[in-house]
Amino acid sequence: MKQYISVTAKFDADGNVIPLCINWDDGRHFPIDRVTDVRYAASLKAGGAGIRYTCRIQSHEKYIFLEENRWFIENDKTEKAG
């Protein structure tokens, strides 16, 4: 499922965008420890295409997508948020 999320991101001087923190609706924040890969990619699971950030969050690996100017994640319906 496609779930749009609120993200705090940094724009560096070269124009790169790096996500720093995911802000969940219920007020919880999940800082991104490290971005290990950035590439253009489609998400067949969520249905969309954009820039895919492979992120390490609390030792979990998670894809975050930036599609035009909205961020989304691929959310398994069974998975608990975060």
Partner: protein
């Protein structure tokens, strides 16, 4: 030797819609126009829908008869434009000679000392699949015509190489109508001459082709023999526009000249604004008319003096219509097209027969209206006539349709 790729996005609109709706991905899906506005035809379909022999251009109800479970989704043109741009971004990693052919097709010239066209084609195919989530089929050849045949040869998600060594085996057995620009009427003429395949066309004596098809004979001969050497346009060359047109299917059938004038007013407004944006004037106005039984025809007229004045083009369209329509049947759709374009600032011979001072005032009026419409939208200033039937005239061809099919020449 040149290495030309032709990349074709498979069922483009439908593929993009399926990417965005995971739930319908494995069902037969078609993208269709708005049936309530009577634009209810199939614009594109995915692979499962193809198995039901659903054709682009047929009515949605016809398609439903073939496949009752067909999922019909409305089009999202902004999405298709975005995906087209993303394709182009990928192509531009391999060459700066990219020539788009509509939104979903492009030629790429990847010629070079050690260009391995097939390897590049596979790389592009894989990247589009992973980065965009849709599939392409790519033809690799030594000219644009065979490259295009190659992209049609095997799909989806495939690469076909047509080389100087194998084109006789691959291309020549194909039916003549697979060749670019062999349409229904050319096919019929060729069949009458006993020509059914591209190979038979290639073997046909050139003088005989010329006497049957005029200068098209040369084109057919060149295309079928693989002699086409037209270049792939450079990425930053935009092709000179040869004509500008808009057409629409009205929300209800048109019954009289007044209805027709309303539709032409809206169409001419859009065509002329686009004409002025291009800084061009038109020498020829053409109209297309389709009646409720889907019989259609076109008529055109050369203008006395090239113009970009909305009023003059509208008057010409109406004149053409009045001269050529007898109102035995009501009308379903109308189109206006202008061609023989010349730069608006080219010097022109003034004429004693037209009131040039009035024309200048009309030009200024158009320019002021353009400014208002640009700032406040197409509906901010409208002729009072259009208020007679606000529903009929409530369409906006300038913004609603930005996708214009292109010609090869």
């Amino acid at each position: 030797m040149r290495t030309i790729l032709h990349s074709d996005c498979n069922g483009f609109y439908a593929s993009v819609e399926c990417l965005y709706n995971p739930d319908i991905r494995n069902k037969p899906v078609a993208v269709g126009g708005d049936a309530d506005k009577r634009h209810g035809i199939i614009l594109a379909k995915n692979e499962p829908a193809k198995a039901y022999h659903i054709k682009t251009g047929e009515a949605i109800w016809q398609a439903r008869q073939k496949c009752p479970d067909l999922v019909v989704v409305p089009p999202h043109f902004d999405r298709y434009m975005r995906f087209s741009r993303m394709c182009r971004r990928i192509y531009s990693d391999y060459t700066d000679r990219i020539e788009n052919f509509g939104l979903d097709e492009a030629w790429l010239d990847v010629s070079g000392n050690d260009a391995d066209g097939e390897a590049i084609a596979h790389e592009i195919r894989n990247r589009i699949k992973s980065e965009l989530g849709i599939t392409v089929s790519i033809g690799v050849s030594f000219n644009k015509i065979f490259a295009k045949l190659g992209s049609d040869y095997k799909k989806p998600d495939a690469v076909t190489v047509i080389s100087r060594e194998n084109f006789r085996e691959i291309v020549w057995p194909l039916p003549a109508e697979d060749l670019l620009y062999v349409g229904r009427s050319t096919k019929r003429k060729l069949n009458r001459l006993g020509v059914y395949t591209i190979g038979e066309l290639a073997a046909f004596p050139l003088p005989a082709l010329r006497s049957n098809f005029g200068k098209w004979g040369d084109v057919l001969y060149t295309f079928s023999n693989g002699y086409d050497n037209s270049p792939v346009m450079h990425a930053d060359e935009s092709s000179a526009i040869k004509s500008i047109g808009n057409s629409t299917t009205a929300v209800r059938d048109l019954e009289n000249n007044e209805d027709v004038k309303m539709i032409f007013m809206v169409l001419c407004d859009s065509v002329c604004r686009r004409l002025r944006e291009q800084g061009a004037k038109a020498g020829v106005v053409a109209i297309s008319v389709r009646d409720k039984d889907l019989y259609s025809f076109t008529r055109q007229k050369k203008l006395f003096s090239a113009t970009d004045i909305t009023g003059e083009i509208l008057d010409t369209a109406m004149l053409l219509f009045r001269e050529n329509y007898d109102w035995k049947k009501s009308i379903r759709s109308l189109g206006v097209n202008v061609s023989d374009l010349s730069p608006a600032d080219s010097p022109t011979q003034m004429t004693l027969l037209l009131d040039e001072r009035r024309r200048e005032r009309m030009e200024q009026l158009d320019r002021s209206l353009d400014g208002l419409k640009r700032r406040f939208g197409s509906f901010c200033v409208r002729p009072a006539t259009l208020m007679k039937d606000p529903v009929l005239s409530a369409f906006n061809p300038k913004e609603e349709h930005v996708i214009h099919p292109v010609g090869y020449f």
